[in-house]
């Protein structure tokens, strides 16, 4: 039997969840015995080259590109996992959700401490190549169906390992309370 194929991505996240994936330490050797990676920052494959079994999503959706990537993952993966606070609830990026988009753009490009007085021509990025900003940050499950949720900021490496191992081996997942953390 061929090895199950895993894809991962980071949408509106900080890559902290991916760092946590690497925190499985030497088990990473065992992991590559168990699975094959496809589209993922781990192996730098940029586009899906085949149908995958497990898609792991870090981060929520703050722009149109995030939505496209997420939908692409849904299309190409049998099982999708929301990994971490941002994918599950929007997380830190969702702090902007109470603030009008206009104000967010102004803060980012006109009034923020790093741009204040610099952007004298008041340029707002609007090239067609750029992703479009959404009205708020969406958790992944509001855009596509998500099969599993692994909480944490970031989720503990043991939680990620246990979940992936359980999915791949078909065994029941080990969930001692120490590995489930919500912050």
């Amino acid at each position: 039997m061929s090895k199950p194929i895993v894809a991962t991505t980071s949408l509106a996240g900080c890559f902290g969840c991916h760092m946590s994936i690497l925190d499985i330490d030497d088990r990473i050797l065992k992991l590559i015995e168990l699975v094959e990676f496809n589209k993922s920052p781990v192996d730098d494959i940029k586009t899906f080259t085949k149908q995958c079994d497990i898609g792991i999503i870090e981060g929520g959706c703050c722009n149109s590109e995030n939505v496209h990537v997420l939908k692409d993952f849904r299309k190409n993966c049998k099982i999708l996992i929301s990994l971490g606070e941002c994918a599950i609830m929007g997380g830190l990026p969702a702090l902007r959700n109470g603030i009008p988009v206009k104000e967010c753009i102004e803060e980012a490009y006109l009034h923020g401490p790093t741009v204040d007085g610099v952007n004298t021509e008041k340029v707002l990025p609007n090239d067609d190549e750029l992703p479009m900003i959404l009205d708020r940050v969406y958790p992944c499950h509001e855009i596509v169906k998500i099969d599993y949720f692994l909480p944490g900021c970031p989720p503990r490496a043991d939680l990620i390992w246990n979940a992936v191992a359980a999915l791949v081996t078909g065994n029941e997942m080990e969930l001692p309370y120490e590995v489930i953390k919500f912050d």
Binding site: V101, D127, D128, M132, I133, D135, R136, Y138, K145
Partner: protein
Amino acid sequence: MKNTLIEIAARYGKDEARLMDILMDAQQALGYISKEAMEVIANELKISAADVEQTVSFYHFFARSPRGKYTIYLNNSVTSVMFGYQEIAEAFVKETGCQFGNTTSDGLIGLYHTACIGMSDQEPAAIINDKVFTRLTPSKVKEIVAGIKAGKKVEDLSVETGDGINAHPLVKSMVKNNIMRKGEVIFADYTLGTSLKKVAGMGTQDVINEVKNSNLRGRGGAGFPAGMKWEFCSKAEDTTRYVICNADEGEPGTFKDRVLLTEKAAQVFEGMAIGGYAVGAKLGILYLRAEYRYLKAYLESVLEEMRKNNLLGKGITGKAGFDFDIRIQFGAGAYVCGEESALIESAEGHRGEPRNRPPFPVTKGYLMKPTIVNNVETFCAVTRIIEKGSAWYTTLGTQSSAGTKVLSISGDCEKPGVYEIQWGMSIKEMLEMVGAKDTMAVQVAGPSGVCLNPAQFDRKIAFEDLPTGGSMIVIGKFRNLIRDVVLNFMEFFVEESCGSCVPCRSLNVVLKQRIEKIIAGNGTMEDLSELERLSKMLSMSTRCGLGQTSSNPILTTLQNFREQYEGLVRKDTDYISTFDMAASVKESCEYVDRKPNIH
């Protein structure tokens, strides 16, 4: 402003425990409580401005900015919605030219929503500057707003008066009692003072024993044995003790305490004095919801009359050392204050957040002193139990539920109102009694209770089967149960959660959104199991009764009316997204001046 506030603070002895009264008076004098006003009050009471602000911000009826010379609070509870809320709300918007949540630009009228105001048998109803307006129609609204614009005083906006004490010169309210059935205990004839004279000749333990033997259980809904509560309090170490009467009936659909305080106030106060005698308390507090402020002058006159007749004050009935007096403490619009420890917090001038229990109020209650907290109806019943004896009382009702119960019945029936029945009546008998036909459901004990389907109408109103504080809402077959009842209840709980426990603060919102999703036709079978799972999680993980029961509207309708939910959800898919790319990028694209590129 400053001098007014200093004078108000002095009126209450600069006592920080009287902050609620000070704020209420400040608002009456100044129209609202500004940041500067809070600072002056804090300074006078020697507490921090943040302490004042956290109390002000907690209560619905405290305004931090002007809410108009005439402030209209229109009730949006379930019965109001059933009887024309929408039409009345539109009429108010049209006549005032003001949207809800705002004041008119000239500062004359403020228009706001409020939760159940205890008028479920005469909805739609609104409160304008403490005066209650019932059975509103668009033409009445027109008349009221025209009166306001013509500068009429609020008491002259309607000359209609209700029955009984509602027509009393100190009340002059259009509220109606609608007492449809008088029972043997509460609404029977009683000669004031009889029981107080009797207890004055009894030992305190004898009084407690009499209440214990009567099997009287708390009438607020929880049903804790009153005698046992009194005994615990009487044996508490601290000898400074208090009696509190819980008149914060906020459970939507309940209004019987309003009627008891209108028609049987002295009997309630006498019951409090009996409680004071039994547990050794000198002070009683009637914690009255702000919605009933129109009864203030009358209730104070009743207290004064009782003092004159030696039924309150020092040496009651001539017995040396039998000292007991009562003061009225007003709330300011918070459902959670009906929970006894939250009520105590509120009476002490704090945010109405429930305490961790134990310790229970009987050992550490008001000002951390032993306190009994009982419902209005409980005290009213005590007076009659002492008069007629516990043996008589236990002949009424059922074995586990002695005596009578006053029900507040509203909704789709011919004769809504207040009914005093013996415990043990079935729902079917109740529906016949009130003239209800084609009933789809009965909401027993308010939103936090249960929603019954017709197959369950043989169940009995009693602690051993259907316990209730008295709220009964009859829902006719032509209603939309999920949209008009369940969603309304969830909106209520979102609004009324004190926010202290995270599961209550957030899951009520999540549950409400799920219901909205289902109503919009975007629900799946998975949403139904999620509703169940989240509801159970919420009920297990909160401190007080609000969060423990706030998912009951969902859980009990999922159980008893599952077919209605299944009729709304889609079965051909297990997932529906309502995400709309074009709508979500519209604003940002417009602002940066680019054409949305949707594909």
